[in-house]
């Protein structure tokens, strides 16, 4: 257990509204990631962070922004939610830095955009 929590765990929102998902870790790991999971696509990287205020885009970053103002929290914001952003969102942390990393995942947030 890498001490990862996500909030909220479930959310229903309306198209056009902003939504923020929170990932919190208790062990001060440097690397944090946001993925979305959709049937037939596995998990796809949205954004990741390699330190406080250091973030970069992943494969499917359009319509999403992130912020990391302190080590333990990594926030994912849907600036104006669309139905195509209905998904399950997973946060992950990397315990060891470097290319041979192992990532550990949070429990996920189910988001429904109506």
């Amino acid at each position: 257990d890498a001490g990862i929590t996500q909030s909220p765990r479930h959310k229903v929102t309306e198209t056009g509204t902003p939504v923020t998902l929170r990932c919190h870790q208790t062990e001060n790991h440097r690397y944090m990631y946001w993925y979305r999971q959709d049937p037939g696509h596995g998990l796809r990287l949205i954004h990741y962070s390699y330190g406080v205020k250091d973030t970069d885009k992943g494969e499917v970053s359009d319509g999403y922004s992130v912020s990391r103002s302190k080590t333990e929290d990594f926030l994912l914001t849907l600036e104006s939610a669309t139905s195509s952003q209905t998904s399950v969102y997973f946060c992950a942390i990397s315990v060891a830095g470097g290319i041979q990393e192992t990532q550990y995942f949070g429990p996920g947030t189910r988001l429904l955009v109506l």
Binding site: Y31, Y33, G40, H41, G42, L43, R44, L45, Y48, Y50, G58, F90, S94, I99, Q100, E101, T102, Q103, Y104, F105, G106, P107, G108
Partner: protein, 112 residues
Amino acid sequence: AQSVTQPDIHITVSEGASLELRCNYSYGATPYLFWYVQSPGQGLQLLLKYFSGDTLVQGIKGFEAEFKRSQSSFNLRKPSVHWSDAAEYFCAVVFNDYKLSFGAGTTVTVRA
């Protein structure tokens, strides 16, 4: 182009039978390879990983995987499946620094 493929979307296996899940990748070098399992409604759990060395890797829950460079494959196996192994399994690969690429997943159903 770099890619990871899981050819089987869904596999059904009888309890006690053996299981093999396929994973293939396209890459010009040897990547770092992982298998994760996701039980219904849960997050992902790491089963095993391969970085280098012995090409047969042992993992948790009785799983093993074999890296075959000539076939660009990293197949997951279990000799005797239990009902609790019903889940979705993901192969994942690190091609570039810090970025995992996932296959689409294979759903395993275990019948009594």
